[in-house]
């Protein structure tokens, strides 16, 4: 009689979980897929399956334990008791995978998809959004319209008109799983259920509006918050604002690509804003104040006496995110002078000489 505990490498007091774990580790090590050049691997794999087949079944294990104990104590055996043998050696690899497949690929196949149900996360949406310079610089809200799946208002996303309307073919998962074994392949292939077309809802009892999908295609308008200091080409990822999920699945994310339009007045350099400011000739010469338009409103800029064109004056904290507003002075000369102005200019010129 084979010692199944020894084959699996566990103590005779091992718990079912320990036995399962030991089997999984060893069976994967000797799996024929992993050992195509080792002819003994398949025999070992079958031996492990036989041992696991007995020790994973409480009734069989009890029977085996009794037989094992009697074998070890002569005279204690029941009259006529036969040595306990498992059927692992007689099973094909395919039989083993069918019987214990859950231990190998526990997360896969029909079982997994049944657990997941028909719920699917919504797809992520992408949209390009034009933003004016000022909104991008100091932040604000911009409306954007985009098409995509939204939750069906008629069935509230359930996909069914009323009551339990699970598709009998896929048991509500929306998926069917098969192993293409006829081609000698052991992976599983999952496809949308051909009966409900992947919705998981019986077509006869599906919501008449969304036909079981739980979502409908609509154009929606969203107000997107543009953070202060956004730059051209920036990507905003807005969690949960993408397309609606199906059958209770979470919504996707919305990715907004910002296209910031240039401004005729302001130019950005990092957090600083650059702009030109026109200063009348007399103010430039004598000093004074001139109004300046900044992103944060109009302020009076102090012009020191003797200012020339090209001088850069800084307004602290009037840029982006605490940056500065840099005003480049452009001294303006009146295009036409009154006779009085002409006389004064001539006097100035004479004094300067």
């Amino acid at each position: 009689m084979k010692d199944y505990y020894e084959i699996l490498g566990v103590r005779s007091s091992a718990t079912p979980a320990e036995i399962k774990k030991a089997y999984r580790i060893r069976a994967l090590r000797y799996h024929p897929d992993r050992n195509p050049k080792d002819p003994t691997a398949e025999a070992r794999f079958k031996e492990l399956a036989g041992a696991y087949g007995v020790l994973s079944d409480a009734g069989k294990r009890h029977e085996y334990d009794e037989a094992r104990e009697n074998r070890g104590a002569p005279g204690r055996g029941r009259p006529g008791a036969t040595p306990f043998e498992a059927d692992g050696d007689g099973m094909s690899v395919e039989d083993i995978l069918r019987r214990f497949g859950g231990v190998f690929g526990g997360d896969f196949g029909e079982g997994t998809h049944r657990n997941r149900g028909a719920a699917r996360a919504g797809r992520d949406s992408e949209v390009e959004m034009a933003v004016d310079f000022k909104t991008a610089a100091i932040g604000g809200k911009v409306s954007v319209s985009l098409p995509g799946a939204v939750t069906c208002g008629t069935c509230d996303g359930r996909g069914a008109a009323a009551g339990d309307a699970r598709c009998a073919e896929c048991r509500g998962t929306g998926r069917v799983t098969a192993q293409p074994r006829e081609d000698g392949q052991f992976f599983t292939v999952t496809r949308p259920c051909p009966h409900c077309l992947g919705t998981g809802v019986d077509p006869a009892r599906a919501c008449p509006v969304c036909r079981g999908a739980g979502t409908v295609e609509r154009k929606r308008t969203l107000k997107i918050g543009v953070p202060e200091g956004s730059e051209d080409g920036a990507l905003l990822r807005l969690a949960g604002l993408g397309e609606a999920g199906a059958a209770g699945g979470p919504p996707g994310d919305l990715m907004v690509h910002l296209r910031v339009a240039p401004d005729p007045v302001f130019r950005r350099e990092g957090r600083d804003i650059h702009a030109e400011v026109e200063v009348p000739m007399a103010v430039a010469a004598l000093g004074g104040k001139t109004p300046v338009l900044t992103l944060h409103g109009r302020v009076n800029l102090v012009i020191p006496p003797g200012t020339s064109s090209g001088l850069k004056l800084k307004l602290r904290g009037r840029g982006i995110l605490g940056g500065d507003h840099i005003a480049r002075v452009m001294v303006t000369v009146p295009a036409k002078l009154t006779p009085r102005q002409q006389a004064l200019m001539a006097e100035l010129q004479a004094a300067g000489d």
Binding site: G105, Q185, F186
Partner: protein, 118 residues
Amino acid sequence: MQSHVNAELEREIGRLRRRYAAIRRESPDAQELVAGWAAEASGLRWYVVVADVVEADIDVELMPEVIVVRAVRTWPEPAFLLGILPVPGGFDTGQVVIRFSGETLEVHVRRDPDRGTT
């Protein structure tokens, strides 16, 4: 001409990859499978490297715009592996041939001129 087609497919594959990123978020601990593709006259062929995984631990889920490969590796260290294979318009995930040999999963998606780009 071919490079133009490939560039267009690359763009579309990138767009679909972003569109279906939620699948990746569902399994934040998953390791991403390395996958490459080739456009052929007959269709689109994806090659996915699934190392140290037994065939029975691989699931290929076919959806209209994307194929999802999920696999469990138990050795040398346990890991959940995930591959997202976008299928641009013009190819049909209803007509797929899958092969697993060595450590590579090959997924051939046939052309379908009726299926336009979405």
